[in-house]
């Protein structure tokens, strides 16, 4: 401590001792002391850093010497009594006196309790709180009232939210990929608990930066998890998850972490030093990369996928985890047994039906029998008499009906447990005889051969489509040669949705594709002929024997060298589903008549010359029989077959099986009710690959300096005992310990200044997130240091700090500006605090306050209102508008913050915000007069004050005033209200009606008196 003061006070003397020499109460001496304090900066600015181990005077270190906030916190004397014993008042009064100003008188008690309640809980005082406080005449009444609010759970909600501004808390990522962080709320709730428990601020800092690295020995598991949740602080930032330059993504994220950490704890913006030494503040690029190394060695992202994912850790206890695992495995076991039982029942059912068919097929084909439609035979009959069975299937079944032994052989493969198809190529009834059954995966290839590359040609296929590609789907290739349509010499017949097409590529490349597309569509599950001809010049398409388009091709086709495929594109993609038959490639150019003839008499075309012919009928007898049988088996017992196991087979099971299954269903439901749920996760960091980083020249990860900078802390900020970062760890724990050293010049000053700011609207340092050169100097430097030192000495006790500030006469003074007529002229900004600074309610206070006074606020605490799946894209927020929970529990959706909050200057959740900037814009007025939400709450308030025991209009008006404004109306106000409420014709609504009351309550809520802390 105090090396910068050696010049003033001889070897070893500390600034504290300089302070001690200043006698208490002597104002001129005190002024001398302050003068010396200022002089110390000036001297250091001139002569630089005396502790710099003889180093040359660098820009950074000389700037540090000149910057007040880099100096150790002093222990200034408390000025003389000033009509108040309170130390804060004595500091404030001393500076007021030197500006010839006076503190205003104490505010009214009704005003005070309102201020305290808003400040400490973010809610207005209840009517009964006000009554109780006014009734308490003891001298300690005020302190007692403050203490009551300090222990209220609402305190943690109000001050937790205050911290969340700095932590840029949100439930979604924002930026390019606005993904849901469904576990962010655990960090939020941790912050609330931490404030309510009055966790010492130094521990609060350590937990957030390095809770995961704290010693776990002897620590209960639940506390280990709490500390993991705390580190969510580092994960919450907005990230460019889809940035494809992944090293850049990581360094941008590190930068965001440095930004939030340096702003929140140091009150400095270090980010400038990413590209160069800070222009004004004593932060060098070396300092930046020393810190960046710490965060680069930390794992904040779970992966670096195309859209990367933030890091999470499981926080489920071992015991619970085993319960979850046990439940999962018994569910799995149970399900397996269950599935097994169903499978067995289905198999039994099929066996039974197969047996029945084997026995009764001859009867079932007898159309004259009358059968019940809901019986199995009825089902069969309906099928048999319909359009579904192909002629081939009919023929096969009719033959089988005549031969019981054949039926047994036909069913044998099924009884053996499989196989609807014949070996080799899958066949089914074709246009003539058999055709090729393409199932979307299979195909037939013929190797490349010069024979299949005629100069001119005709190409035909018959097609029976089981399904068509939807709009936007890829086209389906039927028969084609040579790779794909961009390939030299590609030719093809294909389907674009329902429309036949032909391709021809001459010259290679996408722009050399010649295509023909038929305007007419073909029908599903009907045979159609598709053909194309090419004579070296003219390229023609035919569908069902008729021309469907033609184009003249400039150049002759150059032969390709790829294979010939049926049912797919030759490069192996875009398979077709359906049947193909009568594929013919010929080197004769078919005329239109010829194509038409092939359409009308496909059998005849079999005799025409061809280079390649696939009619799928060149089979041996046994092959043919097996193909026929396979098709019939598929038609009867296949997935869509008439005797397939139905979707809901239960009604067909025997009673015993049904009973056993419903018993099992009940058991399963019971088991489900014991589901312990999924394991819990929290946003959390952990140490990653530990490494030092070199300076990135101009901030670019592509231009690195030669040597890595050892991980560490900004050199200009000095503590006596800086922790040493071990080689094997990131250094986050040491960073946190460094920040919370009792003699750290910034951490305590920054914190007490922010708390002061929250109570007074402005900090003692007005630029509360910039204690650097371009920031403001403190208006009351001694008071700042006195508070900071006291704060550290109190064990970093934040509640104690509130108590200290709120009990001061300075804070309790009236807000009325006429308090001191000189003030308006000499200090219009109220820097010297000659009156209480009026403050607009913050967004949460407005919403919570309106809900509270209209009797609708749901005070339940904690938990998540984010019902969206983790890591999914953020859906629309439908929760906020209807929820009655306190505002801090509403989902914070980055880039789509609930508009009520945005309207009243909610902190931008993408950056750490140290101070919200209240604005007055006409859009807020539009909200008050037109928003359905306001009208709803006004309606609730109106119905509350009108309900219950018989009251006069005047009594109701008074009740509303007490609830909304915490006071009774004056006579004039009472008169105006009654006039508004009961005069006919004042508004379009009836006097004293619910609507009239709603309109009046709305005015009360919109009034500036409600929206300001006076």
């Amino acid at each position: 401590m105090g090396s910068n003061f050696t010049i003033l006070s001889c070897e070893g003397a500390s600034s504290a001792r300089v302070g001690l020499f200043a006698p208490e109460g002597s104002s001129w001496l005190r002024r001398v002391w302050v003068g010396l304090w200022m002089l110390a900066f000036a001297v250091n600015a001139l002569f630089g850093d005396s502790a710099g181990a003889g180093a040359a005077l660098s820009g950074v270190s000389s700037r540090a010497a000149a910057l007040w906030s880099m100096h150790p916190v002093t222990a200034p004397p408390v000025p003389a009594r000033s009509g108040s014993e309170h130390p804060i008042d004595r500091f404030i009064d001393a500076s007021l006196a030197s500006h010839r100003l006076h503190r205003a008188a104490e505010a009214e008690r009704r005003t005070l309790i309102r201020r305290v309640a808003w400040d400490l809980t973010g809610l207005p005082p209840s009517v009964s709180d006000v009554t109780a406080y006014l009734a308490d005449g003891s001298p300690e009444a005020f302190e007692r009232m403050v203490d009551r609010y300090l222990v209220s759970p609402a305190y943690g909600e109000r001050w937790g939210r205050w911290w969340l501004d700095l932590a840029r808390y949100a439930d979604t990522n924002g930026q390019d990929e606005n993904k849901v962080m469904a576990n962010a709320w655990r960090y939020r709730d941790w912050v609330i608990r931490s404030f309510n428990a009055n966790q010492p601020y130094d521990q609060f800092v350590v937990d957030q930066l390095a809770g995961d690295l704290l010693d776990r020995k002897g620590v209960p598991e639940s506390q280990v998890f709490e500390r993991c949740m705390a580190t969510g602080f580092l994960v919450l930032g907005p990230k460019m998850l889809a940035e494809q330059d992944k090293p850049k993504l990581v360094m941008d994220m590190v930068d965001e972490q440095i930004d939030v950490v340096s702003r929140a704890f140091l009150g400095l913006t270090m980010s400038c030093a990413r590209c160069h030494d800070h222009k004004f503040d004593p932060i060098s690029a070396q300092d930046y990369y020393a810190m960046a190394g710490i965060f680069r060695s930390t794992k904040t992202l779970e992966n670096l996928a195309f859209v990367s994912k933030f890091n999470e850790r499981r926080i489920t206890s071992g015991q619970r985890m085993s319960a979850i695992e046990a439940h999962k495995s018994s569910m799995g076991r149970f399900q397996k047994e269950y599935d097994e039982a169903v499978r067995a029942a289905d198999a039994e059912l099929l066996r039974e039906w197969q047996g029945m068919l084997a026995r009764e097929l001859p009867l079932w084909l007898d159309g004259s029998r009358s059968v019940a439609t809901n019986s199995l035979e009825g089902r069969w009959k309906q099928w048999w008499q319909g359009q579904s069975p192909t002629p081939g299937v009919r023929r096969t079944l009719e033959e089988l009906a005549k031969d019981a032994a054949a039926r047994e052989s036909w069913l044998a493969p099924l009884r053996a447990g499989s196989e609807f198809k014949a070996a080799g190529v899958q066949l089914a009834s074709g246009r003539v005889g058999f055709g090729f059954q393409a199932d979307g995966r299979n195909h037939i290839n013929r190797p490349a051969s010069p024979d299949l590359e005629p100069k001119q040609w005709s190409l035909q296929t018959w097609v029976y489509a089981d399904e068509f590609g939807k709009e936007g789907d890829a086209r389906r290739w039927l028969v084609s040669k040579n790779d794909n349509e961009w390939a030299e010499g590609h030719y093809a017949l294909l389907l674009d949705g329902k429309h036949p097409m032909a391709y021809l590529n001459i010259g290679g490349g996408p722009e050399r594709v010649v295509s023909l597309r038929a305007t007419q569509a073909i029908q599903r599950r009907e045979w159609h002929q598709v053909a194309a001809t090419y004579d070296g010049k003219l390229f023609c398409l035919f569908v069902d024997g008729k021309p469907a388009g033609q184009v003249e091709v400039g150049k002759p086709r150059v032969p390709g060298s790829g294979r010939f495929s049926v049912g797919q594109r030759p490069d192996g993609y875009v398979h077709f589903k359906g049947r193909l038959d009568e594929v013919i490639l010929s080197d004769e150019v078919w005329t239109a008549d010829r194509v038409s003839e092939a359409y009308n008499s496909p059998e005849r075309a079999r005799d025409w010359p061809a280079l390649l012919r696939l009619d799928f009928d060149q089979l041996t007898d046994s092959e043919r029989r097996e193909a026929e049988w396979a098709e019939a088996r598929a038609a009867v017992f296949g997935a869509d077959g008439v005797l397939a196991v139905p979707k809901d087979p239960k009604p067909f099971y025997p009673q015993a099986v049904r009973d056993s299954l419903s018993q099992k269903d009940q058991e399963r439901e019971a088991l489900k009710r014991q589901d312990p749920g999924a394991p819990e996760f929290a946003l959390s960091v952990e140490d990653g690959t530990v490494a030092n980083l070199p300076v990135h020249i101009r901030g670019s990860h592509l231009q690195l300096a030669a040597h890595p900078v050892p991980r560490g802390f900004p050199k200009a900020i000095r503590v006596r005992q800086a922790p040493v970062i071990p080689e094997s760890q990131s250094g986050r724990l040491e960073l946190a310990r460094w920040l919370t050293q009792p003699d750290h010049p910034l951490t305590a000053r920054v914190l007490v200044n922010r708390v002061w700011q929250a109570h007074f609207g402005n900090g003692l340092v007005r630029s509360s997130d910039n204690f650097g050169v371009r920031g403001d100097v403190p208006t009351h430097p001694e008071l700042l240091d006195w508070l900071a030192r006291g704060f550290v000495d109190s064990g970093w006790n934040i509640k104690q700090l509130h108590r200290q500030i709120l009990t001061s006469a300075t804070w309790r003074q009236a807000g009325r500006i006429q308090g001191d007529p000189k003030g308006i002229a000499t200090d219009p900004e109220n820097r010297w605090l000659w009156h209480y600074p009026r403050q607009r309610l913050e967004a949460e206070m407005i919403r919570d306050g309106v809900l509270a006074v209209s009797g609708r606020l749901d005070r339940s605490m904690g938990g998540s209102l984010v019902a969206w799946a983790n890591d999914e894209y953020t859906p629309e927020d439908t929760v906020s508008e209807t929820s009655r929970r306190r505002t801090l529990y509403l989902p914070v959706v980055r880039d789509r913050v609930y508009d009520l909050l945005t309207l009243f200057d909610f902190a931008n959740p993408s950056v750490g915000v140290s101070r919200r900037t209240p604005t007055v814009v006409s859009h807020q007025a539009l909200f008050w007069i037109n928003s359905p939400w306001v009208k709803d709450q006004a309606g609730a308030l109106a119905s509350d004050v009108r309900s219950g025991e018989q009251r006069t209009v005047q009594q109701r008006v008074s009740l509303a005033y007490e609830r909304v404004l915490g006071r009774l109306p004056t006579d004039a106000e009472q008169g105006r209200a009654v006039a508004f409420l009961s005069k006919p014709g004042t508004t379009a609504t009836a006097p004293d009606s619910a609507d009239r009351w709603l309109a009046w309550c709305q005015v009360l809520l919109a009034s500036s008196e409600f929206q300001y802390r006076d």
Partner: protein
């Protein structure tokens, strides 16, 4: 001008003046300690119109934003070599970072033809805009830094794809105020909700009054309006009585606390809101347009009606002095089916855009209005899939129109395939600097003090492209 120069003194003056009863404050970010703009009128009303530093023709901007990234080589950047070498590999290296893989060069499916005196080569996607080629000033060498939509949108709209910054509309109203005190200064019609969302029209650390006011977004354009603009009960008489009572209560409150400029502002804000309720719907009432105008914009053709409405709204707001109007259209992101979907998208905007240009001229708004067209990036001259192009921030085209820029002019050159810029390169920062200059502002002087630093739209970059100034 440098609003940052007048820091605390003027605020003090303001409070003194207010204390003396000069209040009557309008729309404001008055409490903002960061509000450092100079001049007492601005202190009373941060949206008060003010003269820029330089004389400038342009007073307002209409930005026709094509979300998704229209392909420059299929619209306005004609590349005969791309036609010739289509199907061949790119003869030089692709960028280090690519959003997705692309294959060989691919020609445009559309023909290009020369238009007007200037002979600008424009594809058949934009025949009607093409017919007005002599009014356009192309910049064919725009380049950005981010290859993903979110980053590129934020870069284009705010100058930063890494940290939260005010959008250009916010900077412009911050610098120039608005010419209509009953309407917002910055309006964005049918804005993009994803890809940075509000970040693209946010005022970030600038006073909230400079935030873009969204109209629509996520709803059909004909139902889009300003939030809370309408009384759901439509009961004007009750509302007037409420505002009278509220005014009395608020004046009582003001009297009881002495003087307070903010409370005065609060009173005025309610009166202003009441006026805005009548002025804004009138500004948005497209039904007042003549049948000829409706026809010109294609308002009654289902294909063009949506963007026609946006262009008409843009003209009506512009006419009334709104400083920055953005109209967004999408989604031009054709990784596949470029031929079909670029065709459809262009047919939705071609007529409305051409109509807007013609209409601005006819109404004498041409000189004062700067129209800008473009997307967050272009598309690769190389092929993705079988009919697509990937994101391409390395070179793309935007065009400006209006009296402030050279008509029938083209600036900037890309290589033979439109892949990289080769000459007269214009980075997004340069575009921002140029836009501010066209409005008479110096991008290095338009600063705002925040967190101890003076921020600029162009950060530490930006070159004004003087060559395109009329």
């Amino acid at each position: 001008m440098n609003p940052a120069m007048h820091s605390r003194m003027s605020r003090r003056q303001l409070l003194r003046r207010s204390a003396l009863g000069f209040g009557n404050l309008a729309l404001m970010g008055l409490m903002s300690p960061g509000l450092r703009a100079g001049g007492s009128e601005i202190q009373r009303n941060p949206l008060a119109a003010r003269a820029p530093l330089f004389r400038s023709k342009a007073k307002r901007i209409i930005f026709l934003f094509m979300h998704g990234g229209p392909s420059h080589v299929d619209t306005f950047d004609w590349k005969p070599r791309l036609l010739k070498d289509s199907g061949k590999p790119l003869p030089f290296d692709k960028p280090r970072i690519q959003f997705a893989k692309t294959s060989n060069l691919r020609r445009s499916p559309w023909e290009f033809r020369p238009y007007g005196q200037s002979g600008a080569m424009i594809s058949d996607l934009f025949p009607l805009v093409g017919a007005r080629a002599d009014d356009l000033c192309f910049i064919k060498s725009i380049h950005g830094t981010n290859e993903a939509h979110g980053g590129a949108l934020l870069k284009l709209n705010t100058g930063s794809d890494t940290v939260v910054r005010p959008s250009m509309g916010s900077w412009i109203t911050y610098g120039l105020g608005s010419e209509n005190r009953n309407l917002p200064g910055f309006i964005t019609i049918n804005p993009t909700l994803g890809h940075g969302g509000v970040g693209n029209w946010s005022s970030a650390f600038l006073p909230a009054v400079h935030q873009g006011t969204p109209i629509g977004g996520g709803v059909p354009v004909d139902r889009a309006t300003i939030h809370y603009l309408h009384d759901p009960n439509g009961d004007a008489k009750t509302q007037r009585a409420q505002l009278d009572l509220l005014g009395e209560m608020n004046r009582d409150h003001l009297a009881s606390v002495g003087t307070d400029a903010v409370l005065e502002a609060q009173i005025e804000a309610f009166e202003l809101a009441f006026r805005m309720q009548s002025e804004a719907p009138e500004a948005m009432d497209i039904d007042r347009e003549t049948p000829a105008t409706r026809k010109l914009y294609g308002l009654d053709d289902p294909k063009t009606s949506s963007f026609a409405r946006q262009c008409l709204l843009a003209r009506r707001f512009s006419e009334r002095g709104v400083r920055f109007v953005q109209a967004s259209h999408g989604y031009w992101d054709q990784h596949s089916d470029l031929t079909r979907d670029h065709g459809r998208l262009a047919s939705e905007v071609d007529r409305p855009i051409a109509a807007l240009l013609q209409d601005l001229k006819a109404r004498g708004l041409w000189d004062e209005t700067l129209v800008m067209w473009g997307g967050e990036f272009g598309r690769t001259p190389t092929l993705q899939g079988d009919d697509g192009r990937d994101h391409h921030p390395h070179a793309f085209t935007m065009w400006l129109a209006g009296g402030a820029v050279k008509p029938g002019f083209s600036y900037g050159v890309t290589d033979d395939y439109g892949f990289y810029c080769v000459d007269q390169k214009v980075h997004v920062h340069d575009l921002h600097a140029t836009l501010l200059a066209l409005l008479g502002m110096d991008h290095e002087a338009l600063t705002y003090r925040h967190a101890g630093r003076d921020f600029r739209l162009t950060d530490v970059h930006g070159r004004v492209v003087q060559e395109i100034f009329a």
